[in-house]
């Protein structure tokens, strides 16, 4: 069976991307979840995880100093373009991009580049399906490769278990980690709020998705927050031929569901049937 991937992204964070993914889960039976929002990996909070397997993620190589060999000549500090080495040869690793210039210029071979763990990848089984997620050590860069790794593990799991769908909670922003969240997926959902920044962000993220020729549709979250804002987004989507597949009004029960660590459609089923949420997910599956 060919597994199909659906990615949910949002441009900026906090538009309800994770809540939307959490709401979609009960409508997909045969699914693997890939939480690619490695800055705020929150989906698992609403799920009961079992059989968690943890693996190191090596992001890059960074220098390690052999203090016995170092003659404090300062060549490495002088050559570093990232200001990651102090004059007394202390590495400021959070600034180090792992280029290897210090290792090269060291006249006494006191510096060696070694594998550096920047985060962890977790695979688990939840009541909604298998799940893959990651967590970065604070201060480390979200790399497209970590996202690619999460997706790869999700794909392997889907293939091994014969799962039909992979739901991706994508990275926020528009940088390379977002690109890694959407390359090769069958559909992208853009979650947007009707705010001034919402439209600004929608344009940027839509431009990105368009450049990959992936089928995309918009979910307008908290649609009743601003009539003017909503009208602007509707107009933009219409002009761009971008479908608004779902409009979700603001409901406190969405927040209450999260507070109670429940998936929103299980907490407030009437709200979801009133929204036509099943029709929305059926459309995604078609």
């Amino acid at each position: 069976m060919k597994t199909k991937e659906i990615a949910v992204i949002s441009g900026k964070g906090g538009t309800g991307k994770t809540s939307l993914v959490a709401s979609m889960m009960p409508y997909f039976d045969n699914v693997v979840l890939a939480d690619c929002d490695v800055d705020a990996p929150d989906l698992h909070i609403l799920l009961k995880e079992e059989d968690i397997v943890e693996e190191d993620f090596i992001g890059l190589q960074r220098p390690v100093l052999d203090e016995d060999k170092c003659i404090l000549c300062g060549k490495c500090a002088e050559s570093c373009n990232f200001n990651a080495i102090s004059d007394d040869i202390e590495f400021r690793l959070s600034k180090c991009e792992g280029c290897g210039v210090c290792e090269m210029v060291c006249p006494v071979d006191a510096i060696s580049m070694q594998d550096y763990v920047v985060g962890k990848i977790y695979t688990s089984v939840t009541d909604q399906g298998e799940m893959v997620r990651a967590r970065l050590i604070p201060g480390e860069e979200t790399s497209g490769r970590l996202v690619a790794e999460v997706r790869k593990k999700a794909k392997e799991t889907a293939q091994a278990k014969g799962r039909e769908w992979i739901l991706i909670d994508g990275s926020p922003g528009i940088a390379c980690n977002v690109i890694s969240s959407i390359t090769g997926v069958s559909k992208v959902i853009l979650v947007i709020e009707p705010t001034v920044s919402g439209l600004h962000d929608l344009k940027r993220v839509h431009e990105l998705v368009e450049s990959f020729s992936i089928e995309s549709m918009v979910v307008l979250n908290k649609a009743d927050l601003s009539a003017d804002g909503a009208a602007e987004i509707e107009a933009y989507c219409k002009a761009q031929g971008l479908e608004i597949a779902l409009r979700i009004p603001f409901r406190e029960s969405m927040v209450e569901a999260v507070v109670n660590k429940m998936l929103p459609p299980l907490y407030d089923p009437e709200f979801f049937s009133g929204l036509g949420f099943r029709e929305f997910t059926d459309k995604l599956k078609s």
Partner: protein
């Protein structure tokens, strides 16, 4: 020499859907009829896997490549290393894909099939 992107080593492996981040390349010497599989070390790269993969294939004497999608950087590298690329679109085995190539069923490509993953349009 001919190379095919593969998920696993050997002629009976399925072809990979990616070029730069393919798991393996099965390199096939048409004259000797001998397959050899190499692991793609470029797949671990954070960015620019395509170009580095082309360099790796060149070091192994490859001049014809059978591949799925190709990004613009990989395509530039392929031209600079003077290789020819034929594109497959079906998930067959390496052996079947080589048969398709020999039968002239694969089309030659000389432009990238996906947009750039970096440096998109300006704001």
């Amino acid at each position: 020499m001919l190379a095919v992107c593969a998920k696993e080593p050997g002629l009976d492996s399925k072809v990979d859907e990616r070029f730069g981040r393919a798991e393996y390349y099965v390199i096939f010497d048409e004259a000797k009829n001998m397959p050899q599989s190499i692991e793609n070390k470029a797949k671990f790269e954070a960015g620019g896997a395509g170009g580095t993969a082309v360099r790796l294939l060149n070091e192994n004497g490859v001049d014809v490549l059978l591949a799925p999608e190709l990004g613009p950087k990989a395509m530039d590298a392929i031209k600079a290393f003077e290789m020819t690329v034929y594109r497959y679109t079906e998930q067959k085995t390496v052996r079947e894909t080589i048969e398709d190539y020999k039968a002239g069923k694969l089309s030659k490509i000389d432009t990238s099939t996906t947009p750039s993953k970096h440096g998109l349009r300006k704001v």
